[in-house]
């Protein structure tokens, strides 16, 4: 199951808070985080790496970034 976190239009630290909340509360192991600034992309990626997750893919589309993040087994 993939949980989507839509953090478009939010500036830091909101996207990171939303992503970490999702990791904490959801049973899911895959997350799609949508952000629209490069800084948010970097911050969410950094937070993921520090929380036992890894960024599997980053897709850029219409000036938005779709990050696919997977929990490490």
């Amino acid at each position: 199951m993939t949980k989507t976190v839509d953090a478009r239009g939010l500036s830091c630290p909101q996207p990171v808070i939303m992503f970490l909340d999702a990791v904490k509360s959801a049973q899911d192991t895959t997350f799609e985080v949508i952000v629209d600034t490069e800084a948010s992309k970097e911050n969410v990626s950094r937070a993921a790496e520090s929380r036992n997750c890894h960024v599997k893919e980053i897709r850029e589309q219409d000036a938005e970034y779709h990050l696919t993040i997977v929990k490490n087994p």
């Binding site: 478009r8 239009g9 939010l10 500036s11 830091c12 630290p13 909101q14 990171v16 808070i17 970490l20 629209d36 600034t37 490069e38 800084a39 970097e42 911050n43 950094r46 937070a47 520090s50 980053i58 850029e60 000036a63």
Partner: protein
């Protein structure tokens, strides 16, 4: 996908080190003591140059600030990172900017200057930094409890250019109406003939340093508030490593230039009232945390198209007007006649913003 070197640990440390060298150098070349760069002080000087306040000793159109915004714009355009956006509670951010400036001027410096003051041996800065950390900690409590000013909207490319163009306009005004030796005014722009406002690095050096820092800080997302917030909120030290690099290199550079004098007394543009050094930065730190960036970061965000950050910057410039017109700003003699009242009002307003502007679950 190209890797952004400046977003790496090495990158942020390098940027902190560059600022830590350039700021004492600017002081060596003429900027005020332990004020090679101070975003709050320099915006206050710009406010004075425009006549928004009439404190005669702090009036100068600081090119560093202009360079920060334009350097950031250059980096954002060069790396396709220019994202025009606006609409996340702009007036709330304006008010946060006002009280951020009032708090900073009770302490006498922004977070950058707090670090530079410490790097110059001014021990009063420890109280300021303690206040800053406490204010940011309060801010993180609100963030944990759902504080959020809402989403921005994408806007026109041209809308993102308005703040950089305003800064360019200020620079052009400075070229048309340059400082005349010994004159307090050249047509529309005010200048200081004595005091900190009369101390400045040569214009070309100042604008070049500003552009370089603006460029690097946009790429690296350098932020003093974010450094402490991320440590408190996420136990992350990425941004903090840049801040520590700034502090260490500025200390070394000051020692090399003979600009290091340790103590509490007789420090340049500083007072020794510990409680108010702490409380001023407590207020400023809370306001920065609620607004999502230190005053430097707000300038870099404004340069990459963030209209709300631009509103915060002008909140600070207007806040300087309030601070000096109402006698809220401190001086080496101590706090202003109404400085204490302003800190109390500011804390009340900022705590209310943090409390009432939460997303309801």
């Amino acid at each position: 996908m190209t890797k952004n070197f400046f977003a790496t640990r090495t990158g942020i440390i390098a940027v902190g080190a560059v600022i830590g060298i350039l700021a004492p150098l600017l002081q060596k070349l003429g900027n005020p003591g332990n004020m090679g760069i101070c975003v709050a002080c320099f915006e206050r000087d710009i406010s004075g140059a425009l006549g928004f306040h009439r404190a005669a000793v702090v009036q100068y159109m600081r090119p560093e600030i202009i360079g920060f915004v334009l350097g950031s714009l250059g980096a954002a355009l060069a790396f396709r990172d220019f994202r025009p956006r606006t609409g996340s509670a702009p007036f709330v951010r304006f008010v946060l900017g006002i009280f951020a400036m009032i708090g900073a001027l009770v302490f006498l410096g922004c977070p950058w200057r707090a670090l530079l003051r410490l790097a110059g041996g001014d021990l009063n800065a420890i109280l300021g930094l303690a206040g800053l950390i406490s204010g940011i900690w309060l801010g993180t409590l609100f963030l944990k409890n759902g504080y959020n000013l809402g989403r921005t909207q994408k806007t026109h490319f041209a809308a993102g250019l308005v703040m950089p163009l305003v800064m360019l306009g200020f620079f052009i005004l400075m070229l048309i109406f340059p400082q005349v030796q010994g004159e307090p005014k050249n047509d529309i722009l005010f200048y200081s003939v004595k005091g900190p406002g009369a101390m400045n690095a040569p214009l070309l050096v100042a604008i070049a340093a500003g552009l370089a820092i603006g460029f690097l800080a946009q790429r690296s997302r350098f932020c003093t508030m974010g450094a402490l917030r991320d440590l408190l909120l996420f136990r992350q030290i990425h941004l903090l490593s840049g801040v520590i690099a700034l502090l260490v290199t500025a200390g070394i550079t000051n020692a090399v230039f003979g600009q290091f004098t340790m103590g509490f007394e007789k420090q340049p543009v500083a007072h020794t009232l510990h409680i108010w050094n702490f409380a001023g930065m407590l207020l400023a730190g809370l306001a920065f945390a609620l607004a999502g960036g230190c005053p430097g970061r707000q300038l870099f965000l404004a340069g990459e198209g963030d209209g709300d950050a631009a509103v915060f910057v002008f909140g600070m410039i207007v806040g300087a007007g309030f601070a000096h017109n109402f006698g809220l700003a401190s001086s080496p003699a101590g706090v202003g006649p109404h400085g204490i009242a302003a800190v109390v009002v500011g804390l009340t307003v900022c705590l209310s913003i943090g409390f009432f502007m939460r997303k309801q679950n």
